[in-house]
Symmetry: C2
Protein backbone atom coordinates (compact mmCIF):
# COMPACT_ATOMS: atom_id res chain seq x y z
CA UNK A 1 0.00 0.00 0.00
CA UNK A 2 2.96 2.31 0.53
CA UNK A 3 6.57 2.48 -0.44
CA UNK A 4 7.69 3.69 2.90
CA UNK A 5 9.81 1.09 4.61
CA UNK A 6 9.34 1.26 8.32
CA UNK A 7 12.35 0.66 10.44
CA UNK A 8 10.68 -1.55 13.00
CA UNK A 9 12.68 -1.77 16.20
CA UNK A 10 13.28 -5.22 17.55
CA UNK A 11 10.83 -5.77 20.36
CA UNK A 12 11.57 -8.14 23.20
CA UNK A 13 8.06 -8.46 24.51
CA UNK A 14 7.64 -10.08 27.86
CA UNK A 15 5.37 -13.09 28.05
CA UNK A 16 2.36 -12.79 30.30
CA UNK A 17 -0.16 -15.29 31.63
CA UNK A 18 -3.78 -14.88 30.57
CA UNK A 19 -6.90 -16.72 31.66
CA UNK A 20 -9.54 -16.98 28.92
CA UNK A 21 -13.17 -18.02 29.40
CA UNK A 22 -14.44 -19.35 26.07
CA UNK A 23 -18.11 -20.26 25.55
CA UNK A 24 -18.64 -22.76 22.72
CA UNK A 25 -21.18 -25.20 21.32
CA UNK A 26 -21.33 -28.28 23.53
CA UNK A 27 -20.08 -30.79 20.95
CA UNK A 28 -16.83 -32.60 21.32
CA UNK A 29 -15.39 -31.85 17.91
CA UNK A 30 -15.38 -28.25 19.16
CA UNK A 31 -12.96 -28.92 22.00
CA UNK A 32 -10.65 -30.71 19.57
CA UNK A 33 -10.75 -27.68 17.25
CA UNK A 34 -10.08 -25.17 20.05
CA UNK A 35 -7.11 -27.20 21.27
CA UNK A 36 -5.94 -27.72 17.69
CA UNK A 37 -5.86 -23.95 17.24
CA UNK A 38 -3.29 -23.76 20.03
CA UNK A 39 -1.22 -26.86 19.28
CA UNK A 40 -1.13 -26.21 15.53
CA UNK A 41 0.50 -22.82 16.06
CA UNK A 42 2.72 -23.82 18.96
CA UNK A 43 0.75 -21.68 21.41
CA UNK A 44 1.07 -22.78 24.97
CA UNK A 45 -1.79 -24.14 27.09
CA UNK A 46 -0.87 -24.19 30.77
CA UNK A 47 -4.25 -25.43 31.91
CA UNK A 48 -7.61 -26.32 30.42
CA UNK A 49 -10.94 -27.15 32.03
CA UNK A 50 -14.28 -27.66 30.33
CA UNK A 51 -17.86 -28.14 31.50
CA UNK A 52 -21.42 -27.49 30.45
CA UNK A 53 -22.86 -24.02 30.95
CA UNK A 54 -25.62 -23.60 33.54
CA UNK A 55 -29.17 -23.39 32.17
CA UNK A 56 -28.01 -24.18 28.68
CA UNK A 57 -26.69 -27.67 28.13
CA UNK A 58 -26.06 -26.84 24.48
CA UNK A 59 -23.13 -24.63 25.49
CA UNK A 60 -19.81 -25.44 27.18
CA UNK A 61 -17.43 -23.13 28.96
CA UNK A 62 -13.72 -23.75 28.46
CA UNK A 63 -11.25 -22.05 30.80
CA UNK A 64 -7.82 -21.86 29.21
CA UNK A 65 -4.69 -20.51 30.88
CA UNK A 66 -2.17 -19.55 28.22
CA UNK A 67 0.95 -17.41 28.12
CA UNK A 68 2.63 -15.37 25.43
CA UNK A 69 3.43 -11.83 24.32
CA UNK A 70 0.53 -9.40 24.09
CA UNK A 71 0.64 -9.86 20.32
CA UNK A 72 0.27 -13.62 20.60
CA UNK A 73 -2.57 -13.31 23.15
CA UNK A 74 -4.43 -10.88 20.86
CA UNK A 75 -3.94 -13.26 17.94
CA UNK A 76 -5.28 -16.21 19.97
CA UNK A 77 -8.37 -14.21 20.96
CA UNK A 78 -8.99 -13.11 17.37
CA UNK A 79 -8.67 -16.67 16.06
CA UNK A 80 -10.99 -18.02 18.76
CA UNK A 81 -13.59 -15.34 18.10
CA UNK A 82 -13.56 -16.21 14.41
CA UNK A 83 -14.28 -19.91 15.00
CA UNK A 84 -17.91 -20.67 14.17
CA UNK A 85 -18.84 -22.67 17.29
CA UNK A 86 -17.34 -20.01 19.60
CA UNK A 87 -19.94 -17.69 21.13
CA UNK A 88 -17.84 -15.55 23.41
CA UNK A 89 -14.24 -15.05 24.48
CA UNK A 90 -13.56 -13.23 27.73
CA UNK A 91 -9.99 -12.41 28.72
CA UNK A 92 -10.41 -12.43 32.49
CA UNK A 93 -6.85 -11.19 33.00
CA UNK A 94 -7.52 -8.02 30.98
CA UNK A 95 -11.08 -7.47 32.15
CA UNK A 96 -10.04 -7.08 35.76
CA UNK A 97 -10.58 -8.81 39.07
CA UNK A 98 -11.41 -12.49 38.96
CA UNK A 99 -11.19 -15.61 41.08
CA UNK A 100 -8.96 -18.49 39.94
CA UNK A 101 -8.99 -21.78 41.80
CA UNK A 102 -7.90 -25.33 41.27
CA UNK A 103 -8.88 -28.65 42.88
CA UNK A 104 -6.38 -31.40 43.65
CA UNK A 105 -6.81 -34.91 45.03
CA UNK A 106 -3.61 -35.98 46.75
CA UNK A 107 -2.79 -39.49 48.02
CA UNK A 108 -0.31 -39.74 50.87
CA UNK A 109 1.10 -42.92 52.37
CA UNK A 110 0.70 -42.08 56.02
CA UNK A 111 3.75 -43.30 57.86
CA UNK A 112 3.56 -43.25 61.68
CA UNK A 113 5.84 -40.43 62.76
CA UNK A 114 5.10 -38.20 59.77
CA UNK A 115 1.36 -38.29 60.48
CA UNK A 116 1.34 -35.27 62.78
CA UNK A 117 3.16 -33.12 60.20
CA UNK A 118 0.84 -34.34 57.40
CA UNK A 119 -2.26 -33.38 59.38
CA UNK A 120 -0.79 -30.01 60.39
CA UNK A 121 -0.07 -29.06 56.74
CA UNK A 122 -3.51 -30.32 55.70
CA UNK A 123 -5.08 -28.04 58.32
CA UNK A 124 -3.12 -24.98 57.16
CA UNK A 125 -4.28 -25.52 53.56
CA UNK A 126 -7.85 -26.41 54.60
CA UNK A 127 -7.36 -29.80 52.95
CA UNK A 128 -10.10 -32.29 53.77
CA UNK A 129 -9.54 -36.02 54.11
CA UNK A 130 -11.95 -37.75 51.71
CA UNK A 131 -10.58 -41.24 52.25
CA UNK A 132 -8.39 -42.76 54.92
CA UNK A 133 -7.18 -46.31 55.40
CA UNK A 134 -4.48 -47.93 57.49
CA UNK A 135 -1.81 -47.02 54.98
CA UNK A 136 -2.95 -43.86 53.20
CA UNK A 137 -4.92 -40.62 53.16
CA UNK A 138 -6.59 -38.97 50.19
CA UNK A 139 -6.90 -35.21 50.66
CA UNK A 140 -9.12 -32.83 48.71
CA UNK A 141 -7.54 -29.38 48.52
CA UNK A 142 -8.54 -26.22 46.65
CA UNK A 143 -6.55 -23.05 46.16
CA UNK A 144 -4.66 -21.00 43.60
CA UNK A 145 -2.22 -22.96 41.44
CA UNK A 146 0.60 -21.54 43.58
CA UNK A 147 -1.05 -22.75 46.79
CA UNK A 148 -1.57 -26.23 45.30
CA UNK A 149 2.08 -26.29 44.18
CA UNK A 150 3.19 -25.38 47.71
CA UNK A 151 0.93 -28.01 49.27
CA UNK A 152 2.40 -30.65 46.95
CA UNK A 153 6.00 -29.65 47.60
CA UNK A 154 5.40 -29.76 51.37
CA UNK A 155 3.66 -33.15 51.18
CA UNK A 156 6.12 -34.74 48.72
CA UNK A 157 8.80 -35.66 51.30
CA UNK A 158 6.07 -36.96 53.65
CA UNK A 159 4.88 -39.76 51.36
CA UNK A 160 2.88 -38.26 48.49
CA UNK A 161 2.38 -41.12 46.03
CA UNK A 162 -0.23 -39.94 43.55
CA UNK A 163 -2.30 -36.91 42.66
CA UNK A 164 -4.82 -35.56 40.17
CA UNK A 165 -5.40 -31.82 39.55
CA UNK A 166 -8.29 -30.14 37.85
CA UNK A 167 -6.50 -27.25 36.21
CA UNK A 168 -7.66 -23.65 36.68
CA UNK A 169 -11.34 -22.74 37.05
CA UNK A 170 -11.97 -18.98 36.82
CA UNK A 171 -14.81 -16.49 37.08
CA UNK A 172 -14.84 -12.68 36.91
CA UNK A 173 -15.77 -10.73 40.03
CA UNK A 174 -17.74 -8.23 37.96
CA UNK A 175 -21.09 -8.51 36.22
CA UNK A 176 -21.52 -11.19 33.56
CA UNK A 177 -20.39 -9.99 30.15
CA UNK B 1 -10.15 -69.49 10.49
CA UNK B 2 -13.27 -71.62 10.62
CA UNK B 3 -16.26 -72.28 8.48
CA UNK B 4 -18.63 -72.36 11.36
CA UNK B 5 -21.01 -69.45 11.20
CA UNK B 6 -21.92 -68.33 14.63
CA UNK B 7 -25.42 -67.19 15.16
CA UNK B 8 -24.59 -64.12 17.15
CA UNK B 9 -27.58 -62.92 19.09
CA UNK B 10 -28.35 -59.23 18.82
CA UNK B 11 -26.98 -57.62 21.92
CA UNK B 12 -28.48 -54.46 23.31
CA UNK B 13 -25.59 -53.52 25.50
CA UNK B 14 -26.26 -50.90 28.10
CA UNK B 15 -24.05 -47.86 28.11
CA UNK B 16 -22.00 -47.34 31.23
CA UNK B 17 -19.97 -44.42 32.54
CA UNK B 18 -16.22 -44.93 32.93
CA UNK B 19 -13.56 -42.69 34.43
CA UNK B 20 -10.15 -43.10 32.80
CA UNK B 21 -6.85 -41.77 34.16
CA UNK B 22 -4.46 -41.39 31.23
CA UNK B 23 -0.80 -40.48 31.74
CA UNK B 24 0.80 -38.86 28.66
CA UNK B 25 3.79 -36.80 27.56
CA UNK B 26 3.33 -33.22 28.71
CA UNK B 27 3.18 -31.65 25.24
CA UNK B 28 0.08 -29.98 23.96
CA UNK B 29 -0.16 -31.76 20.64
CA UNK B 30 -0.79 -34.82 22.77
CA UNK B 31 -3.99 -33.47 24.33
CA UNK B 32 -5.26 -32.61 20.84
CA UNK B 33 -4.54 -36.17 19.67
CA UNK B 34 -6.23 -37.78 22.67
CA UNK B 35 -9.33 -35.65 22.18
CA UNK B 36 -9.19 -36.25 18.42
CA UNK B 37 -9.29 -40.01 19.09
CA UNK B 38 -12.68 -39.51 20.76
CA UNK B 39 -14.21 -36.87 18.50
CA UNK B 40 -13.06 -38.55 15.30
CA UNK B 41 -14.94 -41.74 16.20
CA UNK B 42 -17.93 -40.06 17.74
CA UNK B 43 -17.03 -41.31 21.23
CA UNK B 44 -18.50 -39.26 23.98
CA UNK B 45 -16.45 -37.18 26.47
CA UNK B 46 -18.55 -36.12 29.43
CA UNK B 47 -15.72 -34.43 31.24
CA UNK B 48 -12.00 -33.84 30.79
CA UNK B 49 -9.38 -32.40 33.11
CA UNK B 50 -5.64 -32.22 32.58
CA UNK B 51 -2.65 -31.24 34.69
CA UNK B 52 1.04 -31.99 35.15
CA UNK B 53 2.02 -35.06 37.12
CA UNK B 54 3.75 -34.57 40.46
CA UNK B 55 7.54 -34.98 40.51
CA UNK B 56 7.66 -35.30 36.76
CA UNK B 57 6.79 -32.18 34.80
CA UNK B 58 7.36 -34.08 31.57
CA UNK B 59 4.15 -36.05 32.13
CA UNK B 60 0.52 -34.94 32.28
CA UNK B 61 -2.45 -36.79 33.72
CA UNK B 62 -5.73 -36.54 31.84
CA UNK B 63 -8.92 -37.61 33.61
CA UNK B 64 -11.63 -38.45 31.06
CA UNK B 65 -15.20 -39.42 31.89
CA UNK B 66 -16.72 -41.24 28.93
CA UNK B 67 -19.70 -43.49 28.40
CA UNK B 68 -20.48 -46.29 26.00
CA UNK B 69 -21.03 -50.03 25.78
CA UNK B 70 -18.34 -52.28 27.25
CA UNK B 71 -17.14 -52.92 23.71
CA UNK B 72 -16.71 -49.23 23.00
CA UNK B 73 -14.92 -48.63 26.33
CA UNK B 74 -12.51 -51.52 25.61
CA UNK B 75 -11.87 -50.12 22.14
CA UNK B 76 -11.16 -46.64 23.56
CA UNK B 77 -8.68 -48.09 26.07
CA UNK B 78 -6.93 -50.15 23.39
CA UNK B 79 -6.62 -47.14 21.07
CA UNK B 80 -5.30 -44.95 23.89
CA UNK B 81 -2.75 -47.55 24.97
CA UNK B 82 -1.48 -47.79 21.40
CA UNK B 83 -0.81 -44.04 21.10
CA UNK B 84 2.92 -43.38 21.37
CA UNK B 85 2.84 -40.53 23.90
CA UNK B 86 0.50 -42.47 26.23
CA UNK B 87 2.31 -44.09 29.15
CA UNK B 88 -0.54 -45.59 31.10
CA UNK B 89 -4.32 -45.96 30.97
CA UNK B 90 -6.16 -46.81 34.19
CA UNK B 91 -9.89 -47.48 34.09
CA UNK B 92 -10.77 -46.36 37.61
CA UNK B 93 -14.35 -47.61 37.22
CA UNK B 94 -13.19 -51.17 36.56
CA UNK B 95 -10.26 -51.18 38.97
CA UNK B 96 -12.47 -50.57 41.97
CA UNK B 97 -13.03 -47.93 44.61
CA UNK B 98 -12.02 -44.40 43.71
CA UNK B 99 -12.78 -40.80 44.65
CA UNK B 100 -14.34 -38.50 42.04
CA UNK B 101 -14.78 -34.81 42.76
CA UNK B 102 -15.45 -31.62 40.89
CA UNK B 103 -14.89 -27.95 41.71
CA UNK B 104 -17.35 -25.21 40.75
CA UNK B 105 -17.26 -21.44 41.12
CA UNK B 106 -20.79 -20.08 41.27
CA UNK B 107 -21.79 -16.40 41.11
CA UNK B 108 -25.08 -15.46 42.74
CA UNK B 109 -26.73 -12.06 42.68
CA UNK B 110 -27.62 -11.80 46.33
CA UNK B 111 -31.07 -10.23 46.57
CA UNK B 112 -32.16 -9.19 50.08
CA UNK B 113 -34.82 -11.67 51.09
CA UNK B 114 -33.23 -14.62 49.31
CA UNK B 115 -29.96 -14.15 51.18
CA UNK B 116 -30.88 -16.36 54.12
CA UNK B 117 -31.82 -19.25 51.83
CA UNK B 118 -28.64 -18.79 49.76
CA UNK B 119 -26.45 -18.97 52.86
CA UNK B 120 -28.35 -21.97 54.23
CA UNK B 121 -27.84 -23.96 51.01
CA UNK B 122 -24.19 -22.90 50.88
CA UNK B 123 -23.71 -24.23 54.41
CA UNK B 124 -25.33 -27.59 53.61
CA UNK B 125 -23.00 -28.06 50.62
CA UNK B 126 -19.93 -26.73 52.50
CA UNK B 127 -19.67 -23.98 49.86
CA UNK B 128 -17.24 -21.24 50.82
CA UNK B 129 -17.71 -17.60 49.85
CA UNK B 130 -14.51 -16.53 48.02
CA UNK B 131 -15.81 -13.09 47.02
CA UNK B 132 -18.68 -10.97 48.24
CA UNK B 133 -19.80 -7.50 47.20
CA UNK B 134 -22.96 -5.48 47.69
CA UNK B 135 -24.66 -7.24 44.81
CA UNK B 136 -23.16 -10.71 44.53
CA UNK B 137 -21.46 -13.71 46.10
CA UNK B 138 -18.99 -16.08 44.49
CA UNK B 139 -19.05 -19.52 46.10
CA UNK B 140 -16.43 -22.24 45.80
CA UNK B 141 -18.02 -25.67 46.08
CA UNK B 142 -16.62 -29.18 45.66
CA UNK B 143 -18.50 -32.46 45.46
CA UNK B 144 -19.50 -35.25 43.16
CA UNK B 145 -20.96 -34.14 39.81
CA UNK B 146 -24.40 -35.02 41.18
CA UNK B 147 -23.87 -32.84 44.26
CA UNK B 148 -22.70 -29.93 42.11
CA UNK B 149 -25.75 -30.39 39.84
CA UNK B 150 -28.04 -30.28 42.89
CA UNK B 151 -26.30 -27.20 44.30
CA UNK B 152 -26.77 -25.43 40.96
CA UNK B 153 -30.41 -26.38 40.60
CA UNK B 154 -31.13 -25.14 44.14
CA UNK B 155 -29.25 -21.87 43.59
CA UNK B 156 -30.64 -21.20 40.09
CA UNK B 157 -33.99 -19.70 41.22
CA UNK B 158 -32.15 -17.65 43.88
CA UNK B 159 -30.11 -15.56 41.43
CA UNK B 160 -27.34 -17.75 39.97
CA UNK B 161 -25.90 -15.69 37.10
CA UNK B 162 -22.66 -17.40 36.10
CA UNK B 163 -20.57 -20.45 36.88
CA UNK B 164 -17.43 -22.33 35.91
CA UNK B 165 -16.88 -26.04 36.61
CA UNK B 166 -13.66 -28.01 36.56
CA UNK B 167 -14.95 -31.34 35.32
CA UNK B 168 -14.20 -34.57 37.19
CA UNK B 169 -10.91 -35.15 39.02
CA UNK B 170 -10.44 -38.76 40.12
CA UNK B 171 -7.99 -40.92 42.03
CA UNK B 172 -8.10 -44.61 43.00
CA UNK B 173 -8.36 -45.54 46.66
CA UNK B 174 -5.95 -48.42 46.22
CA UNK B 175 -2.19 -48.51 45.69
CA UNK B 176 -0.73 -46.69 42.71
CA UNK B 177 -0.67 -48.87 39.61
Amino acid sequence: MSDIVYDIPEVHETSSRHTLAVVVDNEFGVLARVIGLFSGRGYNIESLTVAEVEHDKKLSRITIVTSGSEMVIEQIKRLLERMVPVYKVNDLTVEGAHVELELALVKIKGAGDKMKEILRIAEVFRARSVDASQDHFIFEVTGTSEQINTFISLMSPLGLTEMARSGVVAISKGKKK
